[in-house]
């Protein structure tokens, strides 16, 4: 009826078109729902703005106090709360001796998340290719449940397992062997904590936590590889590996990059698991097994003591760490989601890839 009259050029092709063609004939109730739901739909964006503004406003004094020292100093000390003296820099007063250098945490965050990313991408892609190319259809469903299981395990359970089972196992059996590899690969040299707490254990657990994000996207994409292209490649006499290399991988590459960026963002912000496993040392890691801490885990660990700072500066320093972390995760997330917009797939998983 109205559709046909308004769009003489041809019939509308989807729900969105139908919906738009009818916007002028909303009833009163429709308008109320449109407004109420419209307000609800802006709340995520409002929340994002709220988070950013609160952090910026709270962090300003700490930024003034620290200047570029945030990025150049690896000495993070919230100051002596019991001293009668105070340290004042650029007119901002903080507890005696306070110094908010975040370099340790930035290094810890970047190294732990990058090691995790480097391991998680090939494992996810290889596992998904195996699943889709060789595993029989009947087994594919049950086996892919393991991905969902991995995605569903809470952060604190990963931490619990890493602290009580995985870390001690690595410390007793795997790290000794790895350190012998140091002869060939120098970065495996060094000593480790007997309970396995440290950078490498945390990175390995982070790897497990971000595999579901990368694997679930790759799996969706691999399913959509045009059958004609891969069958054509097979018909040309290519082996299955060559088909994957020439047809499948180029087709899913962009999606893998995008989901890897999302996984990286997840690894940057992971808190409780890392806190329990990485050792929470206030220094950059001495070697690949070394204890250190990350931005996220420091906020969770130190906020407690920051609360008793009479000048309130420690809390603002926490906000500054939070702001650095927010910027890092926004950059990875925005880039990942913008990359994926260029390819014709549904968007990336939201949340932890459950």
């Amino acid at each position: 009826m109205i559709l046909v009259r308004r769009r003489a050029g041809g019939l509308p092709t989807g729900p969105a078109r139908v919906a738009r063609a009818r916007t002028h004939e909303l009833t009163g109730g429709d308008r109320v729902l449109q407004w109420v739901s419209g307000v609800a739909a802006t709340i995520p964006l409002a929340g994002l703005l709220f988070i950013t503004i609160i952090l910026v406003v709270w962090a300003i004094p700490a930024i003034i106090y620290s200047g570029f020292g945030v990025f150049t100093s690896d000495k993070f000390f919230i100051g002596n709360f019991y001293s009668l003296n105070f340290t004042s820099v650029n007119g901002v007063v903080a507890p005696f001796g306070a110094n908010y250098g975040a370099l340790t945490f930035i290094i810890g965050t970047l190294t732990s998340s990058l090691i995790a990313l480097v391991l998680a991408v090939p494992i996810s892609v290889g596992g998904v290719l195996m699943l889709s190319e060789w595993i029989p259809r009947r087994l594919e469903g049950p086996l892919s449940t393991f991905l969902e299981l991995l995605a569903g395990i809470p952060s604190v359970v990963f931490g619990f397992w890493g602290l009580t089972v995985f870390g001690p196992f690595l410390g007793a059996h795997v790290f000794p062997a790895l350190s012998h590899l140091g002869v060939i690969l120098p970065f495996f040299k060094g000593s480790w904590a007997y309970n396995g707490q440290g950078l490498l254990t945390a990175s390995l657990v982070l790897t497990l936590m971000i595999i579901p994000i990368i694997a679930s996207t790759t799996r969706q994409l691999v399913k959509r590889v045009p059958v004609l292209a891969s069958e054509g490649a097979l018909a040309l006499g290519m082996t299955r590996y060559e088909v994957v290399r020439v047809v499948t991988i180029p087709y899913v590459r962009t999606g893998i990059i995008a989901s890897a960026l999302l996984g990286w963002g997840r690894a940057l912000g992971e808190t409780i698991a890392v806190l329990l496993i990485i050792g929470m040392a206030n220094n950059p890691p001495v070697n690949i097994y070394g204890t250190t801490s990350t931005l996220a885990s420091t906020i969770a660990d130190d906020l407690d003591s920051a609360l008793s700072d009479g000048t309130g500066m420690a809390l603002r320093a926490m906000a500054m760490l939070g702001l650095i972390l927010l910027i890092m995760s926004l950059v990875t997330n925005l880039t990942g989601r913008l990359v994926v917009r260029r390819i014709s797939t549904e968007s990336l998983p939201v949340g932890r890839g459950v």
Partner: protein
């Protein structure tokens, strides 16, 4: 491919062996984590776990933590559920393309904000600036911000998956939008919406970081009052007690980890089951 057939074959075999290894590296840890946590938790599963609180010195249990988690989940279901479903309806049914795109995009970006950042902001804004103190409401808001994008997304997808034929029928009948949504689109979309909410609750159950400085923790059972009222929850028990020495503390941490993982997996599988049912339903509806 100018190489000899033999070399090509060897390369292929090597590649697929590595892929098989990768698949093993995904499956083994998933099984290992769940099994080892459940094995550690199993001996602790006694009745006192559900009748005593963590305050009990002789025989501590998880009653306060379990009840607290349920209270928080209820709050998230109400707050994030209502806002998320409405937001999803707007994006699916009303939003003009130029507005819907950015709203959807930033909602997904919000999902990428680290949970500790949300916790820190909720602490500064609600607990400190608004003087709510450690409170149930600030915890619910923090968890809701975290799960909202997920509910918005699943609601929108559920609505847009309703077959076009149903929409066209509603248009042909001259139904108003609100009636179309309530009577025509909602019934087939509902299972998808519910499964999205259930999985959002699973995510909320497993979170610790946003709650540390909003809910804080309480050794007693939850009480009425949204403000100045700390509340217990399961993940905190694991987080806190695993860091303390002593067999009893470790046992309590294991028990809490076991109960948490069971609750989360239960919610995820419930959500999956609903989705599977809906898919069959949709297949039948599509004319």
């Amino acid at each position: 491919m100018s190489k000899t057939p033999r070399l090509r074959h060897v390369r292929g075999v090597a590649f697929w062996i590595l892929c098989g290894l990768a698949l093993l590296l995904i499956i083994t840890p998933a099984v290992a984590i769940i099994l080892s946590v459940l094995v550690k938790a199993a001996p602790q599963l006694k009745l006192s776990l559900f009748t005593n609180t963590t305050a009990d010195l002789q025989n501590p249990g998880l009653q306060n933590a379990i009840l607290g988690t349920l209270v928080l989940l209820l709050g998230v279901a109400v707050v994030a559920g209502s806002i998320g479903v409405l937001g999803g309806i707007y994006l699916a049914e009303f939003a003009p393309r130029r507005l819907g795109g950015p709203l959807r995009f930033f909602s997904e970006v919000l999902a990428g904000v680290p949970s500790i950042v949300i916790g820190l902001v909720a602490y500064t804004a609600f607990v400190e600036a608004l003087h709510w103190g450690f409170s149930i409401l600030s915890a619910i808001i923090a968890l809701s911000l975290l799960t909202l994008p997920y509910i918005v997304k699943t609601t929108e997808v559920s609505f847009s998956q309703v077959p076009r034929s149903l929409r066209e029928a509603a248009i042909a009948l001259g139904l108003s939008r609100i009636t179309t949504i309530r009577k025509v689109l909602l019934p087939p979309a509902l299972p998808g919406i519910i499964s999205g909410m259930v999985i959002a609750l699973a995510i909320a159950t497993g979170e610790t970081a946003p709650l540390l400085y909003t809910a804080s923790f309480s050794n007693t059972n939850p009480s009425a009052g949204l403000f100045h009222n700390p509340i217990g929850y399961l993940t905190y028990v694991t987080y806190y007690y695993v860091q303390l020495p002593g067999a009893q503390n470790q046992a309590l941490a294991s028990a809490a980890a076991g109960v948490t993982i069971l609750l989360v997996l239960l919610l995820i599988f419930a959500g999956r089951a609903i989705t599977a049912r809906q898919r069959r339903l949709m297949a039948r509806l599509d004319v």
